[in-house]
Amino acid sequence: MAAMTGLKIEIDCKSYPPLGGAPMRRIFEGFHLSVDPGAFVCLLGQSGIGKTTLLNMISGLDTDYSGRIEFHGEPKPRMGYVFQTPRLLPWRTVLENILLPLPSTESARETALDLLAGMGISDTQDVYPERLSLGMQRRVALARAFAIGPDVLLMDEPFTSLDESTADRLRDLLIAMLAQRPATVLFVTHDSRDAIRMAERILVLSGSPAHAVKDVSVGMNLDERLDKGAVEAFRGRFLAQ
């Protein structure tokens, strides 16, 4: 197994210019975060606080900031990004969507097919995404992210707008997939249940510019996480802190 990738994030300044009469918004100032290789870190915070902006800066989509984002282990890591909406190409089938970021080789195709089989959605491979339910589309988006064999997995509220049982199944699926294909995960959410179910470390962001108000390690094992009572109990303590 390849060495895992850690991150060191030092944002000196990230702001959005004034728009339509609103004043300039300072999103991050002197924001520091280190992520251990192979860690599962949840960034918890209200909407609009800059969580997505942070992921976009890490992924390289947003380069308009001052500061540094460094990767250890793998200087140019492969990054899978699961967005808030599935962002699948509606005019390509499920399989074609997953193959999109892969080289056009037979082995890449096999990887994609194995992945679909492993996730139990082989029967959708020739279907166009818009004919699938949102839960299914989110599975496909997850499959696309895992298909590239990511060193770092960026996830931006990937389980929102789903009913609780579907979301729960997807959380289990994500944990199972990570057990087989380990990666460093940054998971953005505003739902503390999401965080406690999956994360090893929870970072609560607040304020403007945003900074970490809490940095908690969860330290529950897999069985405890599956126990709703344990999760709720932890949540109670966590929120009371």
Binding site: G60, L61, M79, Y81, F83, R87, P90, Y128, E130
Partner: protein
């Protein structure tokens, strides 16, 4: 499926009825006028068959069609590239917008005459002239498409580093296909009309040239025969190439 077939048949029946009424009206009008000025459907049909048997109908339509195709492909390629660039880059659009308006409003005849003067009475001049007439229309249509590209999907393409070529092929072009279809539809109609003008003014074959000669001889029957034959050819392209292609492109839609 059965319902669709029935719907199609009704549609066909209505089209047939409509055309029959038109031909009937033509026949009645012809019977009241000088056959030299307005020959009836029978006369025009006979001219059509005669030209067809002699072979000149097919040669001339073939030549015109080749010119339509050449200038059409040229105009679509260049117009699409310009349109996407203008749609994506605001500064480029600000600068070139006046140029586009100028070329949109330049009369086709002026472009054709200038091309013949500058490039000589050549095939290249003819095709260039037609393409220049069409490029601004394609660019304006595709510019709208370029503006409407989905930002989320472009971000996805860039986050997954799929490269320029794949982004163009899988992310951008499929989104442009409705605009592309629009440009092709309006383009086909416009281009073949301008090709006839180009042929009339500076070529010695093709449908436009034949119609020009017929005009000198006051041969209305030949003019109508060729015009109808060409309209039929264009309609075939629509029915047997464009519509099936469009259905294929749209099969992903719910």
């Amino acid at each position: 499926m059965k319902y669709q077939l029935a719907k199609r048949l009704t549609h066909l029946a209505w089209s047939a009825l409509s055309i029959a009424v038109l031909v009937g009206a033509w026949q009645i009008a012809a019977s009241f006028s000088d056959p030299r000025l307005l020959p009836g459907p029978g006369r025009v049909g006979a001219t059509l068959v005669e030209a067809g048997l002699e072979g000149s109908l097919f040669t001339n339509i073939g030549i015109t069609l080749a010119r339509v195709l050449a200038s059409f492909i040229l105009a679509m390629t260049i117009g699409t590239a310009i349109g996407i660039a203008l749609g994506r880059v605001l500064r480029l659009n600000r600068f070139f917008d006046p140029w586009l308006i100028l070329f949109l409003n330049l009369p086709a005849l002026v472009v054709v005459v200038l091309c013949y003067i500058w490039l000589g009475l050549t095939e290249a001049a003819a095709i260039t002239a037609v393409a220049i007439n069409k490029i601004p229309n394609v660019a304006v249509t595709l510019r709208e498409g370029g503006r409407a590209l989905d930002r989320d999907l472009l971000e996805m393409a860039s986050a997954y580093r799929i490269g320029r070529w794949r982004t163009l092929r899988h992310v951008i072009l499929p989104q442009l296909s409705p605009y592309f279809m629009g440009a092709i539809r309006s383009g086909l109609a416009l281009v073949w009309k301008i090709v006839l003008v180009v042929e009339l003014l500076g070529r010695s074959n093709g449908v436009g040239f034949v119609i020009g000669s017929a005009f000198q001889l006051f041969d209305v029957s030949t003019i109508l025969a060729y015009a109808l034959a060409f309209v039929a050819v264009i309609q075939m392209i629509e029915l047997f190439i464009l519509q099936p292609w469009e259905r294929r492109l749209n099969q992903w839609r719910r």
